[in-house]
């Protein structure tokens, strides 16, 4: 009886631990950091520390769900950004340029798809290759890595909308992040495609033996990952009105971190969109809170590292408890 109660308690902890951890971190910084709880600061956390990373991390969640990883999400961001800026500079309408940007990002996914689903290279190595090739391509396109600026006079108002605009008072980046999160959750957990992606990550040979065209699903999945990441390229470019080669890689490690935080806390150890989103929030709140606590900027990474260690420890304890039950 007592053991049954204990085990149900620890299972419960697994499910809600992420929310609990987030609350704890929140409470900690609310007392430590002046101004942390102010509306302006929280909004800035959402826009600056959350929205863009959330989109990249959600993209990563698709790759991890299929049992892979995508180290080239930054490359997709960069290609989208480059295509977007170039098309606007060439005088194309902003909407068309944005579509072109998405296509530019998707191209990276097509390249990955050929390597992974076509040739059969492992996702880690294939996307690592893409990351390097993508870096070179960008240097070649920009005379060795020079940023491509939009002349301040020549920036159409519509161009700035993605990064600076608001709809009904809500910043557009946040709105886009919400849309991507909702859409991704729907696709991953409520559609045939999502179910097959998940099954592929769990036991690929069963998917094949079930008469499902595994390589098609894998290919589509990697194109989807890059296309989602490309959205970030558009927002980023619109915010700073410049394309800086290889700047997208800044999101890579945090996106992986957030995805695995979400996976660790899932009772079944499955990658999942809500978990990823909570992981991003946790990372964002810790980064912002540490900053406001007046801690030296260079210590922030230590904070993130500690966070990930504690998540792993809790996840490990959870799984041990579950195994004993």
């Amino acid at each position: 009886m007592a053991t049954a109660f204990l085990s149900s308690l620890t299972r419960g902890i697994g499910r809600y631990a992420l929310v609990a951890a987030l609350t704890a971190v929140f409470a900690l910084f609310a007392t430590l950091a002046p101004g942390f709880l102010s509306g302006a600061n929280l909004l800035s956390v959402l826009v600056n520390n959350f929205a863009l990373l959330a989109i990249v991390a959600v993209a990563m969640t698709f790759a991890v769900s299929a049992g892979g990883i995508d180290l080239s999400v930054g490359t997709a961001i960069d290609f989208a950004s480059f295509a977007f800026v170039s098309l606007v500079l060439a005088g194309q309408p902003v909407a068309l340029a944005a579509l072109g940007g998405l296509a530019g990002g998707a191209l990276v996914g097509v390249f990955n798809a050929v390597l992974i689903a076509g040739i059969g290279i492992s996702p880690f190595l294939a996307t690592l290759g893409t990351l390097f090739v993508g870096r070179s391509v960008q240097q070649l396109l920009t005379n060795g890595g020079n940023p491509v600026y939009l002349p301040p006079a020549g920036v159409p108002e519509a161009f700035r909308f993605l990064g600076h605009g608001t709809v009904a008072g809500i910043p557009v980046p946040l709105l886009l992040a919400a849309l991507v999160i909702a859409g991704a959750w729907l696709v991953l957990s409520q559609t045939r495609f999502g179910r097959v992606v998940l099954a592929t990550g769990i036991q690929a040979s069963v998917v094949r033996y079930s008469g499902i065209r595994l390589s098609r699903v894998t290919a589509a999945n990697y194109v989807l990952v890059s296309t989602i990441a490309a959205v970030v390229g558009l927002i980023l470019t619109s915010t700073v009105t410049v394309y800086i080669p290889s700047s997208g890689n800044a999101f890579l490690l945090n996106a992986i971190g957030a995805t695995f935080i979400g996976t660790t806390f899932d009772p079944r150890g499955r990658p999942n969109v809500p978990g990823t989103v909570l992981g991003v929030l946790l990372l964002g709140v810790v980064a912002n809170g540490l900053l406001l606590s007046g801690l030296n900027f260079y210590w922030q990474q230590v904070g993130t590292g500690l966070l990930i260690f504690s998540v792993l420890a809790i996840g490990f304890a959870n799984r041990k408890a579950a195994a004993r039950a």
Binding site: T3, A4, L186, Q190, T191, R192, R195, V196, L198, A199, I202, Q203, S205, V206, V207, R208, Y209, S210, G211, I212, R213, R268, G269
Partner: protein
Amino acid sequence: MADTTNGGAIVRLENIVKRFGGAAALSGASLSVKRDSVHGLVGQNGAGKSTLIKLLAGLHRADEGTVEIDGEAYDRLTPHLVEELGIHFIHQDRLLVPTFTVGEALFLGRELRIPGTPFLDRTGMRRKSAEILARYFGLSLPQSALIADLSAAEKQIVQITRALIANPRVLVFDEPTAALVRREADLLFQLIHRLSAEGITILYISHYLGEIVDICDTVTVLRNGRDVATLPVAETSATEIGALMVNRALGELYPKPDVIPGEVLLQVENLALAERFDAVSFALRKGEVLGLTGLVGSGAKEVVRTLFGLDLPTGGAVSVNGETVFSADPAEATEKRLALVPEDRRRDGVALDLSVTENTTLASLDRFSRGLIDHGSERRQTEDLVKRLQIKTDGIDALVRTLSGGNQQKVAIAKWLSRQSEIYLLDEPTVGVDIAAKVEIYRLIGELAERGAGILVLSSDIEELLGITDRILVFFRGRVTRQFTSSETSPDQVLADVTGAHETLRHAG
């Protein structure tokens, strides 16, 4: 409970009770193994065999009851203590680290040292293991070979050698033949006889009653956590043991309805796969159960794989319902309503970390999704199938990993029932399945035939094939060498063709 005094019992477990949570895995089980005997332990999955063995291995502790080894009672056994007492375990697929070399695996945890120094005595270890390998197995394994590169039989040899290095008094074999082919199993039986003659006591756990009768002196039958009988093997039979295990008469073992085969579903003409099989032709009709059998490499298994689009044929034609199939991938085969229940079910048949529901609908998700998955109808379908196939599970959301082998196999079949397949290719459908689940799978095959499906059963269990099929095709060296009508055939006749006895005669004559 034959001898309650210490009449030569080396291992004696008495009235053992072991509970997990609320459920009792053992409720008063006793086992007494006489010194120098070969003692068999049988029981269905869930009867308590593995709990009893884990208890003896010091991995579990009994809630009640006594454990005596050599007449001395032990309150708390640990794996280390058990080894010191001379009891060693040969498990089917555990306990060997794949990335170790043979040499490392053999001496892990009890490395020999050069006397008086902390240095490993590599020469001594090599000499000792080579001696045992040569003496018992007549072979040498390179010490530097990786465990991962060994065959199942070789891994087992490493395990046995590892145990023999420690001069054991009792060897416990836990389902040792599950991963072995017939010839390897025969070698194992010879080895067991020899070890027994040399004074090592053997405790032998197996699903295969035939093996028990062949090699054991005494057998203990477990059912529902108790020992229901301990018998001298000379006074019993596999049939009696099986009946004790399931607590019913074995006459009901092969339920086979009378179905008159209808029109041709699957037509195979001159099918060939380079160097694997050639000129294979047969037809499978609605309501028919067709058996395929043959030795490993005879081509029977490869034909099944090719039909499902896993291998690309090099010649011949396949048609389903009169339509020619050019299936080079399983997706096309399933579209033609073919279904494969593969032999390696834990790798290819079911996804262990998906739920019962997710596995059941994996091949038929189109039926349950209009854009979004309709979870309600998905669950209803799964619940229906769980009920119809009597799948024992904690619920349709339980991970398939938590099910027993037989129930996992039923999930692998349910997947295709949900897909509404018409032609079922079953590859060794009852291997590693306990006897009660076997009967249920046989009944299901009969039921599918009654509903007009065509079923192809590939099996090396000839009695099973004779019991459940209408016809049997025997493969030998890549060709169909003989066809039998199941109801008019005895196992010996089939076996002669499987092993190629007639072929050799023909060549000789």
